[in-house]
């Protein structure tokens, strides 16, 4: 199309310019009961294929475990879903209608996709409470936040979460002074207050004691149903304790998918991931 055609098109009398149309918040359509479609996704870094024609469908309300060797591309997949990394080809749809690839990170987050990073990332110079407050489900606009006050409801929610993640006592401490494990919890807490529809959780129990691991498992199981949860974890005991359906990634594509038992006995999976004796 030449520039002339473009101009003509833009100038057409019946045309409404895109920047004039008000932003209608995209509505999530899960009528087919699938909340996340990942189709033919490929990502390469300097020629190295981190994701290779990956296909993945996640049902609404499901709790899906994603496992796979180190470097299989799990984190990269989350990066693509949340808009951090551009993919080379493929589609990622949130529900039936929302194409995630066209959206920026904040837009994706506002759609209700929350993420916990592999390496805990919290705002170290701010208090634990403030970290949670910023994550709360509310408008993210400038003018709103200039005047924003916590409603009683929101305050309650934060208190509730503080209790849940065991940082009640530390609520006014700077997040930077927390230990590694505490930061993990805080980050989970930040996810919880935001109440997203889809949670992407990268290695939540790394650095947690067995008991904490157990608690995390409980928490995640309880979240499923209302929320869709995708968990990446290498701790097989943990995975076993929560998993209904497990997807195994290998070299950027799906190697196996099924129940924990099926996967555990899959020869390929044993070969590349679990190791022979278990």
């Amino acid at each position: 199309m030449t520039w002339l055609d473009k101009t003509r098109e833009i100038m057409a009398p019946d045309r409404v310019w895109p920047f004039l149309t008000p932003e209608v918040p995209a509505t999530l359509d899960v009528s087919k009961n699938v909340i996340l479609y990942v189709e033919g996704l490929s990502v390469a870094f300097d020629g190295f294929k981190a994701l290779n024609d990956l296909n993945l469908y996640v049902d609404d309300g499901e709790l899906r475990c994603l496992i796979g060797a180190n470097g299989a591309g799990k984190t990269t997949l989350m990066d693509v879903i949340t808009g951090k990394t551009q993919c080379d080809s493929g589609d990622v749809y949130f529900g039936q209608t929302i194409n995630l690839l066209q959206r920026s990170e904040p837009e994706i987050a506002q759609l209700g996709i929350g993420r916990k990073f592999q390496k805990p990332t919290v705002f170290e110079a701010q208090s634990v409470f403030s970290n949670l407050e910023l994550s709360i489900k509310a408008s993210k606009g400038i003018w709103y936040n200039l005047r924003a006050n916590l409603s009683g409801e929101q305050r309650d929610r934060i208190d509730f979460v503080l209790e849940l993640i065991g940082l009640k006592a530390q609520h006014s401490m700077l997040a930077g002074a927390l230990s590694h494990g505490q930061k993990q919890w805080l980050e989970i807490g930040m996810l919880l207050v935001a109440d997203p529809k889809l949670l992407l959780i990268d290695e939540p129990v790394a650095g947690m004691t067995p008991q904490e691991t157990e608690r995390t498992a409980e928490l995640l199981t309880s979240l499923a149903g209302d929320h869709t949860v995708i968990v990446v974890e290498h701790d097989m005991e943990f995975v076993r304790s929560i998993a209904r359906k497990v997807t195994v990634l290998h070299q950027g594509s799906v190697l196996a998918e099924g129940t924990m038992d099926e996967v555990q006995n899959n020869a390929d999976v044993i070969e590349v991931y679990l190791g022979s004796e278990l």
Binding site: T82, K84, T121
Partner: protein, 377 residues
């Protein structure tokens, strides 16, 4: 007042959440006393405040406002602008153009429309971008709008492309440097190297008169206080906390759903307008605006004031600006040949021994002091 006396008073002021109150009391105390001292007290009295002092104070306050604008973005959002002098100077040129037009036919060539520099460089008519500047409201509007729009365009481009850190700093430097070169060009129609000067009056008030000077000084103080409170309110709001988050982890902030580039652009424009206001107040008080104000070194100096005072506390920036400039005034007169040694050493000393600036150091001594008194009691 002994040191410990002062500290306890100060800590009280602070602990009751009144630091700002104290700040404003000091600011207005000085402003009112100085004004009275200049206008009401006869010159012979030892309480007389000379016009020289008034214009110095006025200048310091303008610089304080400029420092505040830098602190707002650097201290709270981590955007280090090495080019904020550009917005300051643009504001200054805005009001300068108005003042220039006010001269009317009282210029040396007596040309009623053309400023002197245009007459003797053979300009035939007023260039279009000078039109309207004979109106005060228009000039003020432009003095804030132009820097604001420039900041918007620059910020929008840069933040959207995620230019950050030193890249951004150096780009702001490039911006002000380019503007400096441009304004140096005589063809630009802003008086070239000489800039704009020889102002006569503002809104009909004689710029040389003491009353006008005092009024300008008081207005500057008011504006500074207003800017201080607005900024403080902004930083105390959730918006302010988003800014801190951006400073400490921009990408994480994005994953919480904040469109960080919008926040940054908004703040950048706000800060630019503050700087422009500082420029607007500065020019009538010092009587000249020229491209030297765009010099990157000037902008770097502003950053230095902020760092000396204490970045990330609003009054720190103000204290830093006033102190450094006061030191400069004194030093250039007391040891004209060696004052750069003193100033340079001051900067080095503050960075090493007061990493949080003067204010940070004060607060630290305070905590220590408080701890001690607590232990004692």
């Amino acid at each position: 007042m002994t040191k410990s006396n002062f500290l306890s008073w100060w800590s009280q002021a602070r602990s009751t959440g009144n630091a700002s109150f104290v700040f404003v009391v000091v600011l207005f105390g000085v402003a009112i006393l100085a004004s009275l001292g200049n206008l009401a007290v006869p010159e012979s009295s030892i309480f007389h405040v000379s016009t020289y002092t008034i214009s110095l104070l006025g200048k310091y306050l303008c610089f304080a406002l400029l420092a505040l604008s830098v602190d707002v973005i650097w201290g709270y959002c981590g955007i280090l602008s090495l080019g904020h002098g550009a917005f300051f100077a643009l504001g200054g040129y805005g009001i300068g153009m108005y003042l220039m037009r006010q001269i009317g036919d009282r210029g040396v060539y007596g040309n009623p429309t053309l400023p002197d520099f245009m007459v003797f460089l053979n300009w035939q008519e007023l260039p279009w971008f000078w039109l309207g500047f004979d109106q005060f409201w228009f000039a003020i509007l432009m003095a804030m709008l132009v820097p604001g729009i420039l900041a918007f365009i620059f910020g929008w481009l840069a933040f959207r492309s995620r230019v950050t850190g030193v890249y951004l700093s150096i780009m702001t430097q490039a911006l002000t440097y380019a503007l400096m070169l441009a304004f140096f060009r005589n063809e630009m129609g802003f008086g070239g190297n000489n800039g704009l000067t020889d102002f006569k009056d503002i809104l009909g008030f004689d710029l040389q008169s003491d009353a006008t000077r005092v009024s300008l000084f008081v207005i500057t103080a008011l504006l500074l206080a207003a800017a201080y409170f607005t900024s403080r309110a902004i930083m105390a709001s959730r918006f302010g906390r988003v800014l801190l988050s951006i400073r400490d982890g921009e990408s994480r902030t994005r994953f919480l759903g904040f469109k960080t580039e919008r926040y940054k652009v908004w703040l950048f424009v706000y800060s630019a307008i503050l700087a422009a206001i500082a420029g607007v107040m500065y020019v009538p008080q010092v009587g000249i605006i020229n491209p030297g104000e765009f010099s990157p070194l000037n902008s770097i100096e502003v950053v230095v004031w902020v760092a000396v005072g204490g970045r990330g506390t609003l009054y720190g920036a103000i204290v830093g600006a006033v102190l450094v400039n006061y030191a400069k005034t004194r030093f250039t007169a007391i040891f004209p040949e060696a004052w750069l040694f003193a100033l340079g050493a001051l900067f080095v000393y503050v960075t090493i021994f007061m990493p949080q600036g003067l204010i940070g150091w004060l607060q630290k001594s305070l905590t220590k002091f408080n701890n001690k008194t607590e232990v004692a009691s």
